[in-house]
């Protein structure tokens, strides 16, 4: 039989030993206390479907961020024109990213353009029949969109951090998507609400002169909006909705907050108390001072939480938000207010929630089917191919060790389909050895000596194994490229397993055969 080079032996044994070390923490189900610290202690990372958790694909509605910017532009143009003492009929947002300024016929378009050019240097201004039209430039829009997504990621991350999730993963996907993975969550629906909330806090004055009845019938004054306050949503009581006519422009917004905390009123009801920064406190004092006797609505995401009457000027920059909160509600509201508003609303495109018990059931099923599948294959190979079959079995076992070790080292997620991949691999990995053994049998039938048959068998089977494994690998890699989530996990185990099986089924079995047979006079092979 051909020599098996010493260096190959050393490398192979090293690979096997290192793999066993790396896979032991996982196979023992944890790192034991006596485990020395210099040894690898990483366990295979369980995917969301195995440990339970929340997978969310969010779409950031960047269009809304652009619209908001255009709305802001309306205000700025108004201020600019007032400063230049230029009269206008109306200033309105047109479409997503433009503002139309209607001018009286006696106001010169050129004058207005000049004034606007002064205040908005980069603005694109064009004339329309009875006024002007100002449009956000393409770069501005692109910048707004990018900012909206980046800011959303940051805000959501800070919300999650404050909520307390062990290993959150947040990634930007494509241009306007965020992929969020939160493993091991007890209350996914609460986390979802926390993440998805825009949390735009606004203080708006109630239009005391406005006609609510007329507004309900459909005629809302141009500068007003109709919002509802929900009250009394306590146990056993249906929530009631009270319409309120509010000034559209927010007198003050939540971005001037420095802090938000949970507190309790004298009845023990939860409430959230907020603290403004210096600028916010000044504005708040001015606002409350100017409108004593009027009502001011506290609006969060277009829902009125309360609309108390302002009794006096409020100094010190503190305010309270009440609204029949449960302690959890108040806690979460404080978090989102502290973390800040999302620059644009987010929408859930895809969600997958797995409860913790389902995850552990899946692991159990995975272990049972792996053991059973492995047992069946080992028995079959042992009976059919005897000695060489058992050698193939040992190779498959090492294959699993290597696979576990690589998964643990890379911290690639093992998923439910991934476990199926491992089980499938047990069945497919013996294929290389079946090819080799069948070839050896053929050579023996041709009358070759056992040793020569082994050499020939390995040599002839090698090309076939290489070709067939590489083509299978091609499909595994494509699956990895196009798969998402759990399916990707399957592709990972399959790819690693296929590569490892080439080593275990060809090199390792060859090595073992060499050391078993080298000092014997072999008359016949056990196969």
């Amino acid at each position: 039989m051909r020599q098996f080079p010493l260096w190959k032996t050393i490398v192979s044994v090293m690979i096997v030993l290192i793999s066993i070390l790396y896979s032991l923490p996982t196979l023992m189900g944890g790192v034991p206390t006596w485990w020395p610290s210099f040894l690898p202690a990483k366990m295979v990372y369980r995917g969301l479907d195995l440990q339970g958790g929340l997978y969310l694909l969010l779409h950031v509605q960047t269009d809304k961020a652009v619209e908001q910017a255009a709305e802001n532009l309306v205000d700025e143009i108004r201020i600019s024109l007032r400063k230049g003492k230029l009269r206008y009929q109306s200033i309105k947002r047109q479409g997503m990213d433009a503002v139309e300024i209607k001018l009286p016929s006696d106001v010169s378009k050129a004058d207005v353009t000049k004034q606007l050019k002064e205040d908005f240097r980069t603005a694109k201004i064009e004339e329309i029949p009875d006024g002007l039209r100002m449009q956000l430039t393409a770069t501005e829009v692109a910048e707004l969109r990018k900012f909206a997504v980046d800011q959303s990621i940051q805000t959501i991350r800070s919300r999650i951090d404050q909520f307390g999730v062990s290993e959150p993963s947040l990634q930007k996907q494509g241009e306007d998507r965020i992929l969020l993975q939160l493993p091991g969550l007890n209350d996914p629906s609460r986390a979802k609400t926390l993440i998805g909330r825009t949390a735009r806090l606004e203080f708006k004055l109630v239009d005391e002169k406005g006609d609510v009845a007329a507004a309900l019938a459909g005629t809302i004054p141009a500068d007003d909006q109709l919002l509802y306050e929900e009250r009394g949503a306590r146990k056993g009581q249906k929530a009631a909705r009270y319409p309120l006519l509010l000034k559209k422009r927010a007198a003050l917004t939540g971005d001037l907050l420095t802090d938000a905390r949970v507190n309790f009123d004298q009845n023990g009801e939860s409430l959230v108390s907020i603290t403004f920064n210096h600028q916010g406190a000044r504005k708040f004092a001015q606002l409350t001072g100017e409108h004593v006797g009027e009502r001011m609505a506290i609006v969060l995401d277009d829902k009125v939480y309360s609309a108390p009457v302002l009794r006096e000027k409020i100094e010190g920059g503190r305010a309270q938000i009440t609204g029949n909160f449960t302690p959890d509600d108040a806690h979460d509201l404080a978090i989102v207010l502290r973390a800040g508003a999302l620059p644009a609303p987010v929408v859930i495109l895809e969600e997958r929630t797995v409860g913790p018990t389902l995850g552990s059931d899946s692991i159990h099923q995975g272990v049972v089917s792996s053991l059973l599948g492995g047992f069946l294959v080992i028995v079959f190979m042992g009976i059919y191919y005897k000695g060489l079959g058992m050698l193939a079995n040992v190779a498959v076992m090492f294959n699993i060790f290597i696979l576990m070790a690589v998964l643990a080292a890379l911290q690639a997620a093992l998923t439910v389909p991934g476990i199926a991949g491992i089980v499938l691999l047990i069945g497919m990995a013996v294929d290389a050895n079946v090819l080799i053994i069948e070839r050896i049998r053929e050579e023996l039938r041709l009358g070759k000596s056992p040793m020569a048959a082994i050499d020939q068998g390995y040599a002839k089977a090698f090309m076939t194994i290489l070709d067939s494994n590489l083509t299978t690998l091609v499909t595994a890699i494509i699956l990895f490229q196009f798969g998402t989530g759990p399916v990707k996990g399957f592709a990972v185990t399959l790819t690693i397993g296929l590569v490892a099986s080439m080593f275990t089924s060809i090199t390792l079995t060859r090595m073992m055969l060499y050391y078993i047979l080298r000092n014997r006079r072999v008359q016949s092979l056990s196969l």
Binding site: E350, S369, G373, I383, P486, L494
Partner: protein
């Protein structure tokens, strides 16, 4: 032990007309079914929501139906899942409401169903799983799945064309198209749910089937050197016969592990294992009766043309 005799000599090539008829018939049937019945696309592709709930006792399915009807989800499909304690609730895309609503659906269902737990029972309703896929993502997943399959065909066409000859590549890929069509046809005829996991299984089956085909091709390449004077038909027959033992044994080991997965792998893996069980049979058949005979047919056509041009 030897299941397949080493001196076996079946004339696989001789009966290729019959094999083509069977394969062609199945493919045709599959295409007809795919066109008329279509596939029963699951959540991943059609969009919608699925919720798996576990009750402390037997799930009161009739009451659950009423409760869901009251909150406007009367069209939801409710079925027992695995055990009498567990149910699966499916909601179709159009009943899903607007984008913002989707995230609240889960909570709404739990709120509606929770009171149904019998007073005497300990515990509460447990959400084992909730999945929601929006229409846009469903569409993207569909496109991705189709792309993955087509790319794998192209990649194999290139690899086999490079390692062997183009006729071999064509035979291999046509065999794969045959496998995929029949598998899809099975899902169409039975109207079993077609999910992302099934697509993964289809790609695995492509990997398995091409593996099988390559082993035969490799042997054909080997035997061509040995049997130089013989026609391609003889060479192919010899190659298939000599690799038949390996083909059967490997299929058997794979079937063994698939049976373990089918019976003990859990609900998600069940369909995966079923697809592959079918795939192993179809893939093995196509490696023997489709891939190589196509190579032979191409060879015969080439020879016929050559003869014609000589005359």
């Amino acid at each position: 032990m030897e299941l397949i005799s080493s001196t076996l000599n079946i004339d696989f090539v001789g009966i290729r007309k019959w094999a083509f008829a069977i394969s062609g018939g199945l493919v045709l049937l599959s295409i007809v079914s795919l066109v008329t019945l279509g596939l029963n696309f699951g959540l991943d592709f059609a969009g919608g929501a699925v919720m798996q709930l576990r009750f402390p006792g037997p799930a009161p399915i009739a009451d659950i139906r009423t409760a869901l009807g009251e909150i406007g989800m009367g069209s939801a499909v409710i079925q027992e899942f695995g055990s009498p304690q567990e149910i699966l609730i499916r909601l179709h895309q159009e009943k899903q409401g607007s984008d913002g609503e989707a995230s609240k659906v889960a909570q709404k269902i739990v709120d509606a169903v929770s009171p149904l737990v019998d007073k005497g029972q300990e515990g509460k309703v447990e959400v084992r799983r909730f999945e929601f896929v929006g229409p846009q993502v469903g569409h993207e997943l569909t496109i991705n799945g189709i792309r993955a399959v087509i790319f794998s065909w192209l990649a194999i066409l290139v690899y086999v064309g490079f390692r062997f000859e183009f006729r071999f590549a064509l035979g291999a890929v046509l065999a794969l198209v045959h496998d995929v069509l029949i598998t899809l046809g099975f899902f169409s005829v039975t109207q079993k749910e077609f999910s992302l996991v099934v697509v993964a299984a289809v790609l695995t089956l492509i990997g398995y089937s091409i593996n099988d085909t390559i082993v035969v091709f490799d042997r054909i390449r080997d035997e061509t050197k040995r049997l130089r004077q013989h026609s391609l038909a003889v060479v192919i027959n010899e190659a298939i016969n000599r690799t038949l033992s390996r083909t059967i044994i490997t299929s058997l080991t794979v079937v063994l592990v698939l049976l373990a997965l089918f019976f003990y792998g859990g609900e998600v893996i069940h369909d995966f294992a079923l697809t592959l069980l079918l795939g192993v049979v179809v893939g093995t058949w196509s490696s023997i009766y489709v891939a190589s005979p196509i190579v032979l047919a191409l060879e015969n056509r080439r020879l016929a043309k050559a003869r014609q041009s000589e005359n």
